[in-house]
């Protein structure tokens, strides 16, 4: 009797599961032509124009128009946050990154990802570092298509001409960039100076953390400590060997200066390695050496990817189509196609590293530097919903220091710490 009851229950459960599975497939079929458009907010990294060019196949599958709107990083962040926080739902898919995943997850502006992804999409194929950045409190929120850490890039020819070795530590770094500095022909160094949690703060942070800096001591901001001052002074000293105007550099100006042949050495995000090797745009292709950042600099891990908006997808069909767009655009097949098309900087999957096309096209020194840097790559920013505001306030103070409108580093960091305390208080009181 008991066995029969159990058997009946198992049968009912099996039937229910089968019905659910059939229902899910049916729902997918039912969604064809039901979602006239999905809007995707993005920033123009190489993947995005590639997706835009190939979106026809996705549009055909779902009879849906895909509208990919591209903005600069800060504008993209501001626009998607405005859309999400006001519940406007104008975008169905957000481009998000390490700086805002905590904020979006905490406020439930994006849906947990894995519930909506197809099984064969294979979350475990993504590199551990990318998955860690895309995850907040053990839930994955975005599908990465780009990411990495830092790498030191230097002009092998210039170092060889001066009989220099790539620097292994911060003391050597200063000496090498000073020796390379020969303006106006070539400048020893370049780095981000423009305000922003993802701009100057991002590049300054490894120096701060390398010297033992901590963001907070309990609830109290600690980045205005002596270590913070020392790290800022070191970063500022390096600007003496940078091209004029570097105090307001974005990453784009750093990379263009380097691959334009005007800069001898940089420490930047590793995705820019292939940019320096692009013969159509780089004057220094084939002359670049790669190595992990000098000790004890850690490597700033990051990832960018697509997330599914909660307010932008009010219906099941909208969720299904948006999720399928995310799956399509971050699939193994898409990464392989990007590699074939020569896009070597934007990858997030382990399978891509084993892809023979990738291995054939990428400088082996670069791959070695990536592997050597991996153990010291971590998310170095403060993982909190308040980070964008705190980081931005700090970025403004740093820009004032780098451009000379504030000469008192301690005062600048104190001001940023006061603003951080106020933001925490405000958030607690809300």
């Amino acid at each position: 009797m008991k066995l029969r009851t159990i058997g009946r229950q198992v049968s009912i459960a099996a039937l229910a599961l089968a019905a659910f599975a059939t229902g899910a497939r049916a729902a997918e079929n039912e969604c064809v032509g039901k979602v006239p458009v999905i809007r995707v907010i993005a920033q123009p990294i190489l993947t995005i124009p590639f997706l835009d060019k190939n979106k026809g196949e996705f549009e055909k599958k779902w009879s849906t128009k895909v509208d990919i709107q591209q903005f600069g990083e800060n504008e993209r962040r501001a626009k998607s946050r405005l859309d999400a926080s006001q519940g406007a739902g104008a975008y169905q898919v957000y481009y998000i990154d390490e700086a805002n995943v905590a904020e979006y997850a905490t406020n439930k502006w994006v849906l947990p990802l894995l519930d909506l992804m197809p099984k064969d999409w294979d979350w475990n194929d993504f590199l551990e570092g990318r998955r860690a950045v895309a995850t907040y409190k053990d839930v994955a929120y975005f599908a990465p298509f780009e990411g990495g850490g830092d790498v030191m890039m230097y002009r092998k020819d210039l170092l060889a001409a001066k009989g220099l070795q790539p620097p292994k530590n911060l003391d050597e770094l200063k000496k090498v960039v000073a020796a390379l500095n020969d303006p106006p022909n070539v400048y020893g160094w370049s780095a981000r100076g423009r305000r922003g949690s993802g701009m100057n703060v991002w590049r300054w942070t490894p120096f701060f953390r390398a010297m033992g800096g901590q963001w907070f001591d309990g609830d109290k901001p600690a980045f205005n400590s002596d270590i913070g001052v020392k790290a800022t002074q070191y970063y500022l000293d390096l600007f003496k060997f940078a091209p004029p105007g570097s105090g307001t550099n974005t990453w784009s100006e750093v990379i263009e200066g380097f691959r334009g042949g005007q800069v001898g050495l940089i420490v930047e995000s590793d995705v820019f390695g292939p940019w320096a090797e692009d013969k159509t745009k780089s004057r220094i292709a084939g002359k670049v050496g790669y190595a992990p950042p000098p000790e004890p600099l850690p490597s700033a891990g990051f990832a960018h990817g697509f997330a599914i908006s909660s307010k932008g997808n009010p219906t099941d069909c909208s969720k299904t189509v948006s999720a399928d767009f995310v799956a399509w655009s971050t699939s193994k097949d898409m990464e392989a196609r990007k590699v074939k098309a020569g896009i070597l900087s934007d990858f997030a999957r382990k399978s891509t590293l084993d892809n023979p096309d990738f291995k054939a096209q990428v400088n082996p020194d670069y791959i070695k530097a990536l592997l050597d840097t991996a153990p010291k790559t971590d998310l170095l920013i403060w993982k909190s919903p308040l980070w964008p505001e705190v980081g931005d306030d700090l970025g403004l103070q740093l820009e004032e220091v780098f451009t000379g409108s504030q000469t008192d580093i301690k005062q600048a960091l104190d001001d940023a710490a006061d603003q951080a305390s106020e933001a925490i208080k405000r958030a607690a009181g809300q």
Binding site: N74, R195, Q430
Partner: protein
């Protein structure tokens, strides 16, 4: 009733002037009120709450946002920069317009003048964002054409947009380049409409060329000049796009005007919508007072 106070109706009947004015002005004024009141009331309501883009809840906080402004160093800087920006761009555009128009009026005639007018109008047709990006590139210390002459003579490049002391003026040059040249064309066309006899009389009295214009033609154009000043002053309050594209308020806060600071606070990373709304209310009040006073004064100057 005097017939001068009557206006023709489509049927041929004459309407009293007051009624005609009400009929003509009523619909556009109603539209203006409809379009401007909701955002103004919205900003006012927001300014007394603590709405943030980072969290869904909010509450009434009275004058807390306005009280905070008293100690906000960045806001004080933004007010100072906004005022400086107004003075530099308005004065710069009008001075350039006057000098250039007189120069062209006195030295170039016929078809060449028309061609020059066309060329002078081109910068204003360029979208502000495009103008900002083009000039940002031109100012580049390494690649920009502005620094090229300095490099030719072996001088180090000037970091126009990265130095706190030069950045605002470098952006103002772009604004003046767009508006000053456009106003020069308007001034030139106005000079062409002036009766020739007062100018000839001044010349017969041996007035210099600049004397003729300073003492005769420009006083005759005073109402037009004042209107131009007002138009430019209002326009200069809306230079967000140009400054944002060229410097984003930097270096540091050297070019951060009040509207830019409000944007950074409300829509940028902080997401403090209510504080940004309070700043907008402050800007509204200050500009209303300033323009009312100036308007009153200008009526006296025009007389």
């Amino acid at each position: 009733m005097d017939t001068a106070d009557l206006q023709a109706e489509p049927s041929g009947k004459l309407l009293p002037r007051g009624r005609f004015a009400r009929l003509a002005l009523g619909p556009p004024l109603a539209l203006l009120v409809l379009m401007s009141l909701p955002p103004t009331i919205g900003a006012l309501l927001l300014a007394f709450r603590n709405v943030s883009l980072m969290s869904p809840g909010s509450r009434w906080v009275g004058f807390a946002n306005f009280a905070r402004m008293l100690t906000d160093r960045r806001l004080h800087n933004a007010l100072r920069i906004s005022l400086l920006w107004e003075v530099v761009t308005v004065a710069g555009a009008v001075v350039v317009a006057v000098l250039l128009s007189v120069l062209i009026f006195e030295s170039i005639k016929g078809r060449a003048r028309d061609v020059i007018c066309l060329a002078l109008i081109l910068p204003i047709l360029l979208p502000r964002v495009s103008a900002g990006l083009i000039w940002r590139f031109m100012y580049s210390p390494l690649m920009g054409v502005v620094n090229y002459p300095l490099q030719l003579v072996g001088l180090p490049p000037v970091e126009y947009l990265s130095q706190p002391g030069t950045a605002l003026y470098a952006v103002a040059v772009v604004d003046i380049w767009q508006w000053g040249l456009f106003f020069a064309v308007i001034m030139l066309k106005l000079l062409e409409t002036l009766p020739a006899s007062p100018l000839e009389a001044a010349r017969l009295d041996h007035a210099s060329t600049w004397g003729v214009h300073w003492f005769v033609s420009l006083p005759m154009l005073r109402p037009a000049l004042i209107t131009m000043l007002f138009v430019k002053a209002v326009e200069s309050l809306r230079s967000f796009d140009l400054i944002y594209t060229m410097t984003n308020g930097g270096p540091g806060i050297a070019t951060e005007t009040l509207d830019l600071y409000a944007y950074q606070t409300g829509i940028g990373m902080s997401g403090r919508i209510s504080y940004a709304a309070a700043m907008s209310v402050l800007l509204l009040i200050l500009s209303t007072i300033a323009f009312s006073v100036l308007w009153k004064r200008s009526q006296r100057w025009s007389a």
